[in-house]
Amino acid sequence: MRTETDPRAAATASCPVAAGLPDGILGALPGFRHFLGDPPAAERFQVDGADPRQSAPAMATLRRRLRGLALLMGDRPAQAAENPRVPAGYTYLLQLTAHDLVSTTTGFWSAGGPHPGVANAAGTPLRLRTLYGDGPGACPFAFAPDGARDPTRSRFRLSAVGGEVAAANRAAAFRDIGRAATPGTLGSRRGYGEALLADARNDQSALLSQVTGLFQMLHNAILGMIPAVGTLPAKAAREAAAARFAVAQEATALVFRAILRTDLLPRVLHPAVQAHYGTAAPALLDRPADGAIPLEFSHGAFRFGHAMPRDSYRIGSFEAAPLAELLRLNSTRSPNAMPLSHAWILRWSQFFQLPGQAAPNASMRLGPQLSPMLIADGLLDPIAEGDPCGLAFRDLMSAGLAGLRSVDSLAQHLGRLRPALAAQSPMLADAALRRAALAEWLGRDPALSLLDAADVAALAADPPLPFYVLFEAEREAAGEGLGILGSVLVAEVIHGALARAPLASEIGGGGLAAALDRLCESWFGPGWRFPDRPAVEDMPGLIAFVARRLDLAAAEPAFL
């Protein structure tokens, strides 16, 4: 229902931006950059011709419009369609990948002022720094001592399901990430709960934490194949221990990168873009001097994963475990429910398509609408009074505050630099068509959005990038993957990082198996090989390998 007075005035009156706070980000953002270089003012996202980062009225207008757009985006119907091409587990592999590319101390949406001091600290993309941090020396809590009298830490620390006391000799019980209580920190015996992870973001949900744990188990499985200290031709025990860790770490990263190349990216990228970039030496548009991440990727295209979560999942005996509950199952929100109990341990065939198993949970088709579960209490509260809760508004505000390249600028550059690809997107090739399609979608529920005709026209002419990427995916790829623009932005960064900064063992080519062999030889001398080489390039292969090496095929709770 609309107010009888001007709703825009009411919305703006309660908006702190109207009073000039916070401003957009104008200062340097170390670790970030713009796709194709710093855009001139005319090529940035604007509000009625003004840069919202430099104009309080434009920012207030932007906030009002984004409130309306976020309400539309948060209203995904219960009968929304599933994506048959992407099982649900890939949603959380994408999130882990995002954490390996970008890490900031503050979300842009909460950054105050033009110089908020936000930086991307991830630094070395796609080497699983999100798993290893700075290693056992700097992050000892993430790793278990090698023995009762051996302080060296080589294996990831895992917790027994449900905190099972008698689990010491039951390897199958160690299926949750490492977790701890911190007695006294709340003035109570148990205190706060903590995830013993190098990057605690990976405990945001019971789904992400278990995908994280799966890669930790891979590391532990690989480590288990390397002969113990004292049996290798290394010079000293310490050196041998370091070598074991280094080999297991790089082998795990090799598998992760192979899965990105071979399994994940082909599922989410437009086939034409995957064909263009999925080569040993892709022709990249963007060739930065360092590993900085384009804002148009981090705060634009790669937000597409936020549309993939289901409202509920089949997990174990639960037919429909609500997403909101899964998002609360972590050490921060539910410390006394940790470690995860049997009921919440994932059976991987429910999340990835495993041979001979029933179809897994599917992810949701990509489109500009997100699960309504994300508005549940305390998960993603409003930024300011009157703002919508949920993820959409935060994504939109972060993009609006960061001065991204506009969709129109990206379309024009792509049309000039990659005409064959751009031509496959009718909405990139024809701006009028794009605007008309966007206007139709944006204007469909004015009672909810409070967007008037001028707002709709303005957003259609200059749509926020994270919204457009999802809209493009729905319109031009049936929601089964990204469209052309979204795919190019993702491919440039991920395929680009894989190609630009190879691991030492990847230099020389030959694929994963050859890299694993080079890795073994470089540390342990000619002829040494893994007895069971982890040459797996997809998630089903990874799961099968871990099950075989850790003897989990018939585990309880079920692993496969």
Partner: protein, 140 residues
């Protein structure tokens, strides 16, 4: 065919927004503050629309076909009796399943999720306590 005892799906509910909407209806002051207007609804359609506008996440189950609005008074005992079939249906559910409380309570107890109730007797005791609470309690 709708289930006359179909429980409401509370998992996506934002209780804060839902509470603000109730306070707006009760007092006539706008607690939601998001630009929409929230008069006391006169029809179920108006309720559904306002639930959406206020981003409550509340979706009414198909069994609900009628609306009755009752405003309490501080000098009147308002006995808001739950539907008898729903009382019986929830008792039946509690034979096997735990009583689930909204997760926002955890935030007020140091993030601690409630310990599962040990048996049917404990669940039915808690059920009675909860009905006693929300059937008679006024806003504090």
């Amino acid at each position: 065919m709708t289930d006359p005892t179909e429980p409401m799906d509370m998992s996506p509910v934002n209780f804060e927004n839902w509470g603000k909407l109730m306070k707006t209806w009760a007092t006539g002051e706008d607690y939601v503050q998001n630009g929409h207007r929230f008069p006391v609804p006169r029809t179920l359609e108006e309720v559904k629309e306002q639930l959406r506008m206020a981003q409550t996440g509340v979706v009414l189950p198909a069994r609900i076909q009628h609306l009755k609005v009752v405003q309490g008074r501080s000098d009147t005992l308002l006995l808001r009796l739950p539907p008898p079939d729903l009382v019986k249906a929830s008792e039946q559910r509690l034979e096997a399943g735990d009583y689930s409380l909204p997760a926002f309570y955890n935030a007020h107890y140091d993030g601690q999720a409630p310990t599962p109730l040990p048996d049917k007797a404990a669940r039915l005791k808690f059920h009675a306590q909860r009905i006693g609470d929300y059937s008679i309690a006024n806003c504090q």
